[in-house]
């Protein structure tokens, strides 16, 4: 019996593959967070001021807030459909540790919702007259920060997936946890512009990512067990 037992890597790859396939087949969901990010960022010049100076000053914050909101919007897809069709139960009854399977789902989700935002951010930054010389820092902080947002959001979704009407509760759970990431991200960018050394700030963001990678899937897995219970 054990000869044919799938390896942990096999199960993780199968889960990753499946989630990417589902995302690919649901193209609407795929582009929603991306479009949302672009739209929110575009509204700021209209709402505040089209003056290049004023825009340049707030651009880092605008980009980070847009990324945060876009990731929040995207979170709901993470476990919802799986909960409703029973796939989540199959995932939990797998002999493999739920931690790694949840991590695979989170990674797939970040690839389709977080990565596009990171990739398009320089373009939106240019539109917002983002100060020259900090582009690479911006992309780097988003690259470190958006996975943390996804991993933290996953906990909130896992907790609320069983509730009938969730409304704002997901935001209420997730946003307070996300604020440190927002602060670290914008601070890193502004410190770069003032000529400070980057390594310390990036190290903090890297530490946040490592902590989220190791702890958040544990919390998500526990929350999913409660939700399915």
């Amino acid at each position: 019996m054990s000869a044919a037992r799938s390896t942990l890597a096999g199960a993780v790859v199968a889960t990753l593959r499946r989630d990417l396939l589902i995302a690919y087949k649901r193209k609407n969901d795929l582009f929603n967070p991306f479009m949302f990010f672009v739209l929110v960022a575009t509204l700021f010049p209209i709402g505040i001021s089209p003056e290049p100076e004023a825009l340049g000053e707030i651009s880092a914050g605008v980009l980070w807030i847009s990324a945060l909101l876009a990731s929040l919007l995207a979170m709901d897809n993470l476990y919802r459909a799986d909960f409703e069709d029973g796939s989540l139960e199959l995932l939990m009854l797998s002999p493999h540790p739920l931690y790694f399977l949840v991590l695979a789902k989170n990674f797939a989700h970040w690839l389709v919702s977080g990565l596009p935002i990171v990739l398009v951010s320089p373009l939106i930054a240019y539109m917002l007259n983002f100060p020259e010389g900090a582009y690479s820092t911006l992309v780097l902080t988003l690259l470190l920060g958006t996975p943390v947002l996804s991993l933290l959001g996953s906990i909130g979704v896992a907790l609320t997936v069983g509730l009938g009407s969730r409304g704002l509760i997901l935001a209420v759970i997730t946003l307070p946890m996300s604020v440190p990431v927002l602060i670290a991200g914008t601070l890193t960018v502004s410190q770069t512009l003032e000529g400070a050394s980057l390594s310390g700030y990036l190290a903090i963001m890297g530490a946040m990512l490592v902590a989220a990678l190791t702890l958040a899937p544990l919390a998500s897995a526990a929350a999913l067990r409660i939700s399915v219970n």
Binding site: M1, V13, D85, G86
Partner: protein, 228 residues
């Protein structure tokens, strides 16, 4: 409220039973679903769990397969407490629930590939054979939202064919199946039992399988004079 569920399980205690349940107690919303529930499931035994609507059949199955831990009592898998051998237990158990675990945007083949790999390595040939056996030949690559509820159920039945689990836990597996599907599944349960596998199944319909033992939940919990 406090009457014991009747128990007509023939106990064959020659070997360590595959699954042993002792003094199981579960209440939901301050209503006792079952208490002092004890039974043994031997290898090769098919146990049909009966009981009216709301008598706790699904809850019992979810407790037994580890999806619900809101209970008191002891559950042993091959003589070991469930909590101490979770991985081995999940390796040897296959659960088909009310919600069949079939993603609507994926095809039957993609669904099986994923759920199969959560347990064991399966080859493309095995998978095609299983899909053909459950009558989904020609539908392997159609997205599942184009298929009927019965066909979704058949996708999940293909999991039984691909699994090497000793214990099948089936929650109302017959509901959406047509007559031939029902006969097919009954046959499958019979074969599994002949090979020494055990089955826990809830259904309201009379199982046409040899040697089925029955466990009835919630006897006497309905008020007198009401529909029971």
């Amino acid at each position: 409220m406090d009457k014991q569920p009747s128990e007509r399980t023939e106990q064959v205690e020659t070997l360590t039973p595959l699954l042993a349940v002792d003094d199981l107690f579960c209440e939901r919303d301050e209503r006792v679903l079952f208490q002092n529930l004890s039974f043994r499931l031997a290898e090769g035994q098919v146990l049909q769990i009966k009981g009216g609507n709301g008598s706790g059949k699904t809850t019992l199955l979810r407790i037994l397969c580890g999806l619900n831990d809101n209970y008191q009592g002891l559950i042993r898998w091959r003589g070991e407490l469930l909590a101490n051998c979770v991985e081995k237990f999940r390796d040897g158990m296959l659960y088909l629930g009310h919600r069949v675990g079939v993603s609507k945007v994926l095809t039957p083949r993609e669904n099986l590939l994923w759920s199969g790999h959560l347990h064991r390595q399966i080859s493309a040939d095995e998978m095609d054979a299983a899909l053909a056996q459950v009558g989904l030949q020609g539908f392997e690559d159609s997205q599942c939202f184009t298929l009927s509820a019965g066909q979704h159920q058949r996708v999940s039945l293909a999991r039984l064919l691909l699994s090497e689990a000793r214990l099948w836990v089936l929650d109302e597996p017959f509901t959406t199946l047509d007559v031939r599907g029902v006969a097919f599944l009954e046959n499958l349960i019979g074969q599994h039992s002949d090979r020494g596998g055990s089955v826990l199944v809830t259904t309201h319909h009379a199982l046409a399988v040899d040697g089925v033992t029955e466990l009835t939940l919630g006897v006497g919990q309905m008020p007198r004079g009401s529909l029971s």
